[in-house]
């Protein structure tokens, strides 16, 4: 057990069981309480304030927060005020023009298109994934195992590698420059992760419950509707939030599958805005802020569902 408090940066990783007093921003009381305890066997490093972690986390906080600060302050400044003060200064001007201008540039329309894509993608995912996950968890035939493996394989096949054939398929069926053409592949590429998340949460339903339903002679449909769906509500919430995020933030498929104003989604709008009016940084960043608002709202209200889902991706 080391006695000094000046720990190296790597020492921040004291493990998940560190006590409340060894946080990244040590409170004054922590040190005095920790000193006498440190020498006692069994308490040791877990009670020391973790200075190394504090420093490292502060640096990372700055890296994350500075661009976000620039983003928010710039979007409320006039172009002249921003150019005069620079990105890191305290704002000296205040205006909402950047936001109204973004609307005039067509962002209202892009917003609506993105909403349509998001709702449709979530609809498809919610319609397809729960029955699939139910079959994967409860049907042990070779066919189902094969299907599950196919989705696992699809999990790591990135959409960007197949944009050419997807462009071909969508063109052939006549859905180029049509929002439906964006919706279908976006939903398809959400399926693998959503399936893994939901089948994971369905596996936690105990066998006794299935048995009880089986004794009643319940059909698979009834088991699904009365047992499986109600007990995997958390998983369903997660896949809703996850697929909504994917659809809202989707850039690749709209980029290659649409071209006109009437089908433009918000991410593509940002890209075009940048190539056309790259110098108008406050205007550009106001558009970025607008594109984020719905996600931030979801994040505030459904953070848990989202975090749980993304954590599941890495496996246990």
């Amino acid at each position: 057990m080391s006695n000094d408090l000046s720990v190296t940066p790597t020492e921040q990783v004291s493990g998940p069981t560190t006590s409340p007093t060894s946080g990244g921003a040590p409170r004054p009381g922590a040190t005095s309480a920790g000193v006498p305890l440190r020498r006692r066997a069994g308490r040791g490093s877990r009670n020391r304030p973790n200075w190394g972690a504090g420093v490292a986390v502060t640096i990372w906080l700055l890296i994350v927060a500075i661009p976000l600060y620039v983003l928010v302050t710039a979007s409320f400044q006039t172009q002249a005020g921003y150019a005069a003060g620079g990105p890191l200064s305290l704002p000296t001007t205040f205006t909402l023009d950047n936001f109204t201008n973004a609307f005039d540039q067509g962002f209202g329309r892009y917003f609506l298109n993105t909403l349509v894509v998001t709702v449709a993608v979530v609809g498809i995912v919610v319609l397809l994934v729960p029955p699939l996950s139910y079959a994967i968890v409860r049907n042990r035939s070779r066919a189902t195992t094969g299907i599950f493996r196919m989705f696992l394989l699809g999990l790591a096949v990135p959409a960007s590698a197949v944009i050419v054939p997807i462009f071909y398929v969508i063109s052939v069926v006549g859905l180029y420059d049509n929002l439906i053409g964006v919706i279908l592949p976006t939903a398809a590429f959400c399926l693998p992760i959503c399936t893994i998340i939901l089948s994971g949460s369905m596996r936690d339903i105990t066998n006794e419950l299935y048995e009880a339903m089986a004794l009643d002679g319940a059909s698979p449909k009834r088991v699904f509707l009365q047992l499986v769906l109600p007990l995997s509500k958390g998983g369903v919430a997660t896949i809703v939030v996850y697929s909504a995020l994917q659809a809202w933030n989707g850039f690749l498929f709209p980029l290659i599958l649409t071209q006109s104003e009437s089908t433009k989604v918000i991410t593509l709008g940002l890209f075009n805005f940048q190539t056309q009016y790259g110098v108008n940084i406050p205007g550009l960043l106001a558009a970025v802020v607008m594109s984020m608002i719905p996600i931030l709202l979801v994040y505030l209200f459904a953070r848990r569902a989202l975090v749980q889902g993304l954590m599941g991706v890495g496996g246990k």
Binding site: F148, S160, A214, F251
Partner: protein, 306 residues
Amino acid sequence: MTTRAPQGRTRPGAADLQVGRPGVVWALPAALFFGLFALLPMVLVLVLSFTQWSGLGSPEFVGTENWSRLLDDPVMLKSIGLSLVLTALGVVTQTPVAMLLGVWAAGHQWNRAVLSAIFFVPLLLSAAAVSVLWRAVLDPNFGVPAQMEWLFGDGNLFGNQSTAIAVLVFVSLWQFTPLHALIYQGAAKAVPPMLYEAAEIDGAGRVRSFFAITLPQLRNTMITSVILMVVGGLTTFDTVLILTNGGPGTDTTITAFYMYQKAFRGFDFGLASAIAVVLVVAATAISLVMVRLSGYDKMRSELEGV
């Protein structure tokens, strides 16, 4: 309906276990949909790589012409090197930061929970928003480099290869570290606290506990995370498209971006498909390794089949 015989237990009703199990039909709609829009394209890309197609009319069969053109293409060779460099730099920078952040965030302190919520924000932004934001923040005339000339010199980070690559690596670090940190956080929470208590009784400090317990326990997670980084690093090009547009010259034209350029700017879809095949083969090989190593396909709860 499964044909598996009831398990050895002979309690009343055990035979009825097979009642109410869903048939394969339940899995078919999703499987067909996924097959049509994700797996069929993977087959098609191979077919298209032997054709010439400008986006209009029908593809024409041209044999291995695209492939031989690809082998002689200096930009393609350069792009493979760049892809490997960017991917390697991504793994090397993101893995340590993500692992330390994840293990740190797995602690139960309130301040960690609050800060983690902030650290998570970059993950919520679209690749387009992240790239547009950083392009603005790093703008040579109106961005941070112009305000901090003592640090950035002339400030045009997009003007030469090494700084442009540094920008791409840094923005990827900013954008993707939260996801990987989250993966590590989940895994670190699952490490039995008993192990740390035992280590402490043996007198192990923080560093020792980390290397002796945390790191070995995170091995599988690390494999998964690194492979996700490699697959992502090899195939994503949206950051390159918005931040550097492959430039200066072709100095940040990675293979995936080169494919996009050939297809959607040069309308040379046949050649682009050949490039895509190279990418798909690399990505699929890595996915298979990932499925094998992480044991995803064997994932079954202990509760099932008791």
